[in-house]
Amino acid sequence: MTTPVYLDNNATTRCDEAVVEAMLPFFTEQFGNPSSMHAFGARVGGAVKTARAQLQALLGTEFDHEIVFTAGGTESDNMAILSALEIDPGRDEIIISAVEHPAVLSLCGHLEKTRGVKVHVIPVDGRGLLDIAAYRAALSQKTAIASIMWANNETGTIFPVAELAELAKEVGALFHTDAVQAAGKVPIDLKSTVIDMLSLSGHKLHGPKGIGALYVRRGTRFRSLIKGGHQERGRRAGTENTPGIVGLGKAAELAALHMADEKTRVAALRDRLEKGLLQRIPNAFVTGNPDERLPNTSNIAFEYVEGEGILLLMNREGIAASSGSACTSGSLEPSHVLRAMNIPYTAAHGAIRFSFSRDNGEADVDRVLEVMPGIIEKLRALSPFWQGADKAPATFNPVYA
């Protein structure tokens, strides 16, 4: 059996050994509660402070107390949006993009249904770029918060969040960005922006699962979501997940160290895979914006075949990737991101996301390039739409249920 190839790092990453090592003492000898008065607690409190500083460095925040530890990206997203709706009763509208993660999309759908909140969903174009004019038009004195992701999880397309935040400020609205995919992969310097809140997740940057953070700019009015003790300066109650926090801090430090590698070597691996696949496989194209995207992500649509079949055959070869959004697997709908980009469904269904990390090497790319053409060919031979390379698809008009 050949070595497995893991190219699904936007779904989750391998926890770095150094991260695990840093965490381990905090399960056993360093078990104290950071809120306690005694020495047991104080030592752990110090470690939490170190982790906060490590995140401060990764995100370029002005103060370390602007970091609030949470249970993950989804919780952070929820906290940011729900808080924004509470602080000013006159502002009850939300602006999001059509390609947000379900952590934002489904929350907003729920708020629309149950609280009558008006949600403006800003469309994207065929390359996944935000319709800035529509965004501007949606902003008003009624806007509580605009929440636009830093980078899209499926295509890697990066949004101009610093500029979008400036526009939100013009109407006095809060600006939040879901940076779960961007944090650790691209440089972030929050103090040079006017972004009010930012969400990130530990397991997307070689940290542990179940830990995340929300950046809340100093002076931003904030209502806690989870009520209880005074932890995180009253912004997130509940005894701190100290091993997780220590792990996230270490992961943030390592991510900053590897950022250059991500931008050069990892990006080159991604580019070689992408070019190689497009050369070897006809009727395939890159989705999203290749000029402005995460260095690790490539989303390729293979026409006239369906993603699950591709993944099953890839899995048999020991290669892991995903089709559409990993979070929506289990549903049958093609990815909402690709649909928002108006990708025809015969292509959207066959879109495969390859997402690299610093763990990947040249051998991984070679392996995928070796097996992918055969996989696509095999499935196309089964497809009623397929007529051969560069030929128009078969005139196939099934009766649709």
Partner: protein
Amino acid sequence: MWDYTDKVKDYFFNPVNAGVLEHANAVGEVGAISCGDALKLMMRVNPETEVIEAAKFQTFGCGSAIASSSALTEIILGKTLEEALKISNQDIADFLGGLPPEKMHCSVMGYEALQAAVADYRGVEWRDDHEEGALVCKCFGVDEGMIERAVRANKLTTPEQITNYTKAGGGCLTCFEGIEAVLGRVNEEMVAEGLISFDEAYRIGAMDARTLRQKARPKGAEPAKVEPKPIIALADIERAAAGTIVLERPVEAPAAMAASATRLTTVQKVRLIEKTLDEIRPYLKLDGGDCELIDVDGNNVVVKLSGACVGCQQASMTVNGVQEKLIAATGLPLRVIPVK
């Protein structure tokens, strides 16, 4: 990752009868836009005997769509059109050892392609009356379209009725709000169309899911009453199917009946059980299933379900129904144990 059976995987990885069939004289093309699947079934039918002599397929779709298509071609080969038309989507799923509930529509697509191909051969137009919607109940694989049809056709106005008519909500109940939403919407439309009165229409939130659960779960034995069938958790169904647990707690029979039953000899008991099974059998056969008595050991009645019961999501409900009937007939706290 979907929980596919080995047979589904095998038919996906090594599909038989894939590709274009030359000189096909019966072609069915169907698709399900909801999941982007599409299937082209090509058959060569002997005009003299109407026997399907060759069948091939092309499918754009997921692993189970390809496996279902390939399985279909194997099932129909050598059958007459009349025989082939009797094949249900459940037959296709059973052939594959079952499909995940979300993927049952793949077998429906196979069924429809077959209907369409036969219609094509006979030169008649095939109209699809099957409408799909989002899957609401995962335990029993019931989609929105099916609930809507049941509500409209039977003027249903409570979630409980929906469970009785479609089985949706008969398992884990996490879909209760989904059922309510469909019912509320369809009832509202029906009020507007004058089909039901405003007062009859279901108001979302009017019913507590917990009361539904209690009603659907009768505690003791209720002789001679099979509907509503007792409902048990999906996990139990799976474990029961694997033969690792016995489905129902032994039920205490009413005292009077138990007293009369204690006088039964073993031979009388077995005969009575057989007689009762014979009475139930026609109902099982209606659904394409059957139930065979294997052994009686004390109060344990070992039965073998066959036909459509095998791999059926509702097999455990069937077992419970059979058990209730047997208890009612014999007055003994019998326990029905299904074996493979």
